[in-house]
């Protein structure tokens, strides 16, 4: 059922993804779309520190969709994630007439190695901003 398993992909431990998420900022919020395991455990959207804790608790290998056709399940660590991140709509031209100025949210396509479900991890910059604004107002 998983399209990721059929196509080019890398393997990464969920604890490595956890470390990468924390390195992006523990106050950054994220969504998960389509993973019964994570959505059953965490209320989304969710700040990076909470999601990272859950990923460490699960502690299983993930498969990460890659555009590189040479990606055939090689194990990677957190240092490769910056180059493998995609952007929601980031590569699509606006109405066919050029690229957009606004950098859209980052995302990854994942699949747990032992699961048939593909899912997305998507940055939620609107919630991140709203939460930061709220903290600023409280000060």
């Amino acid at each position: 059922m998983s399209a990721i398993k059929q196509g080019p992909h890398y393997e990464i431990d969920s604890s490595e993804l956890a470390a990468w998420l924390e390195s992006q900022g523990v106050d950054r919020w994220w969504n998960v779309d389509g993973d019964p395991l994570l959505t059953g455990r965490v209320s989304f959207p969710c700040p990076a520190d909470e999601l990272a804790a859950e990923l460490r608790a699960i502690n299983r290998p993930l498969l990460l969709h890659a555009k590189n056709p040479d990606a055939k399940g090689q194990r990677i660590d957190r240092t490769r994630l910056d180059e493998l991140v995609s952007r929601l709509f980031g590569n699509l031209p606006a109405n066919g007439r050029g690229s957009v100025a606004w950098p859209s949210d980052r995302l990854f396509y994942f699949c747990w190695k032992d699961s048939p479900y593909d899912w997305m991890l998507i940055e939620d910059s609107l919630t991140t901003k709203a939460e930061m604004d709220q903290i600023s107002e409280a000060k």
Binding site: N31, S43, P45, S99, V100, D105, I122, D124, L126
Partner: protein, 297 residues
Amino acid sequence: MPRRPTDLTRKIKDILQHVSPLPDEARVPILHYRRTGTDIWGSLAYIEDVFQRVNDAEQADISLYPAVMNRHLGRLYGMTLVNLVETFERLLKELAAECVDCLAPFVVDDRFNIFRIQGSGLAAHFGTATLGKSLCESATWLDCEEINERFRKLLSDPFHAGTFYLFPKPPGQQPERERWRYEPMSIIWQIRHTAVHNVGVITQSDGVKLRLLAKEPVTAPRVLAPTRDDIRYLKRFLDETAAICNERVCLRLAELLTLLHTATPTLFVPQETANRVASCFRIAAQVAGATGVMPTD
């Protein structure tokens, strides 16, 4: 050229054929709740991203007027609000149904009389649904007092009135630490009523009810225009409340099953029942000394 006639009755009936299977999480109320809530939020985030992308496009001729975008987003937030509240309502039904199914073989008192169901309604469930679903699915669960009454009776000690309040009401109902939820939950039910039955218009009568519930001025008539932050906080409140309801119902059910087992030790095998409770609620509760084993995800 005249428009071709369309069989609209057929088209309406066709809606019933456009369905998809339930997600795996539907077997467990709290997982079903979280899955749907996450899906709703995900849809919203997706549309917001598309809107933002169009709005920020370099070409002025394809960008949206902010007022137009905000109007459409406001409509979407209103629909999201209703969806989130109804997801929570479904959780309450499913939790109650699990309790009915866990208790039905072991109780003979009048606890199930709290559910009003007509014979034809029961017949419609016969053969496929569980007793819990047949008793709990057809009713609405949109009023804190009514919900309290159902869970209180459902989870009472045998032949007693019961003291379990899912949404304990100030000043006397227990637990005290949960009393604060009664007010926001009641306001949420009323907002949902306004959104569903009056397309978001706070009528004069809605305004009076909301004023009494919120204990502060509410202007009417007005149209509800929820913001993204409103939806975010609503979801956070409902998510937290869902987790607490799931835990409290689970622990009270386990306590009641323990009581029933103490009175009649041959009634059931504690480990089997504890495992069933753990599976239904995803909490490793204890039943008659046996700790439920959680299924692996």
